[in-house]
Amino acid sequence: MGTHNINFSEQFEFTGKVKTLSIVGIVIGIAAVLFGFLAGDKVMHERTFANLLLMAYYFACVCMSGTFFLAVQYVAQAGWSASILRVPQAMAKTLPIAAVILVVVISAGLYSHNLYHHWHAEGLTDQNSPNYDAIIAGKSVFLNVPFFLGRQVVFLGVYSIFSIMFVKFSYNEDLAGGLNSYRKSFKNACIFLVIYGFTTPVFAFDTIMSLEAHWFSTMFGWYNFAAMWVSSLATIAVILILLRRAGYMQWVNNSHLHNLGQFIFGFSIFWTYVWFAQFLLIYYANMPEETVYFYKRFEYYKFWFFLNLAMNFLAPVLLLMDRDNKRTDAKLLFVSIVVLLGHWVDYYQMIMPGAVEDGHNGFGIVEIGIALGFVGLFTFTVLSSLSKKPLIAKNHPLLQESLHHQL
């Protein structure tokens, strides 16, 4: 395709059916939360909070991996992605909202003793109390409420600041042109990647692993990183394909999809690799304090355990192995959606056994409703920030390379 017929000020209009549906989603989500809190008992409250945590975490992770995507592209000085950067930028711009929601859910769950009660309860660290737990007491230097909440706020705050910075640089570039913004993005992306690499494992330890505070795994951070990164890539692919079908971003060609497909394929395998590395070591060493994690999942969540592997490993490997499948938008869309649902399942079996009493988990109105609510919220926030600026960063120095991208 020639570049002469590209409208460099093309903007997304967020109206009509998509807007209505996303608001309907948010309403369903609020209704499901109210249902969980008003209709249920203590167990139901825990389950509602666990679902809120799941989706708030998922939402924040997808958005912050959007920032990670931007940073990776800037540091690698990648040309192919220059024309699609507005989509991850819209996700990055949404991160502050996602971060606030996550912190609110975590603090509400923490103070109402619906989440993290495993390490945050009366007398756990008090030697004279009947509830005294030596392991938790030993970890209390790290796992105490002020430090825990402080880490959450600092991590999410730092990611948000970088997200806003990258987006601002790109908008300045639209106005001023030149290489100044690009150089600044490169420099800040280098700093961001170092911070992000060291802090995301800790972020995952805090948010998810501390639900079962006795158990620990050093692979857990990377396992979560792989999950959030691949789900973010799948989200970018879904948004791009749907935008292209709606008549926007006609410069996105099959080679761009091919690249995203390779990313999704590769990082699905990376996710499996990390998942398996964690599983094999625990299985092989067979130490009770470690095997308890998989014991619970095998005993009460067997279906989810295997569904997780099928959706996040088998589906992308079998369906995206072929070159043509990565280039066909219908197939890539299908696999991306399977991977996104798959990572919901992944988070579900990470969170539920620790947050809900054994045997009281389930899959019903609360799960589906809250998931739909956050999907609606994500669609609404990301698409409204996408509609604010042109869909192409017209002064990106590598834009021509991206417009002529061919694999």
Partner: protein, 178 residues
């Protein structure tokens, strides 16, 4: 009939060479092959080159590796010499997976390198087959089979018009045999 086997049009510029390909194709002159010192986007589609089947070969090599690894471990750990490791059953599949994975990768990588050598006639110690030595340096060369396309002067003219710097007539297919 002459002894000319191949006519080589040697171009200094890839765009002119692409133009030359178009010119020859417009005149229904089949192109034997094109040699370039660097990859050129879109040239495969223009020449109608079929997709490489190395992925199928890679899959076959890979699955061979998986089977070999499984057979080896199964024979050692289950049939020939059972060892009690942490009370686990001898046939504990998760333990097998890392080695099966590694041998899959190993077989796949070696197999593909050997396939590549075999299909390009490259092998350590063997003189490479080159039609025009400068195609490995700074020239973009279109080779036309002179036996199939007998209108040599027409081909000459087309190549020159497109901007060929030099036209060569090779009486041997490859000049680099030693």
């Amino acid at each position: 009939m002459s002894d000319i086997k191949y006519i080589l049009g040697s171009f200094g510029d890839p765009d002119e060479m692409m133009h030359g390909i178009e010119k020859l194709q417009e005149n229904n002159i089949s192109i034997y092959d094109v040699y370039t010192p660097m990859p050129i986007h879109g040239i495969e589609a223009k020449l109608g080159i079929k997709r490489s089947r190395i992925d199928i070969a890679a899959f076959c090599f890979g699955i061979t590796g998986t089977c070999c690894a499984f057979a080896l471990i199964y024979f050692c750990a289950v049939i020939d010499w059972r060892v009690n490791i942490g009370g686990k059953p001898s046939f504990a599949l998760p333990d097998f997976i890392p080695i099966m994975f590694e041998l899959t990768v190993l077989f796949c990588a070696f197999g593909m390198v050997l396939t590549y050598y075999a299909s390009t006639h490259l092998f350590p110690g063997r003189a490479p087959r080159v039609m025009d030595l400068r195609a490995t340096d700074d020239r973009f060369v279109i080779a036309v089979d002179a036996k199939d396309n007998t209108a040599h002067t027409v081909i000459d003219g087309l190549l020159k018009d497109a901007g060929a710097l030099e036209i060569k007539y090779n009486e041997r297919k490859y000049i680099s045999y030693e």
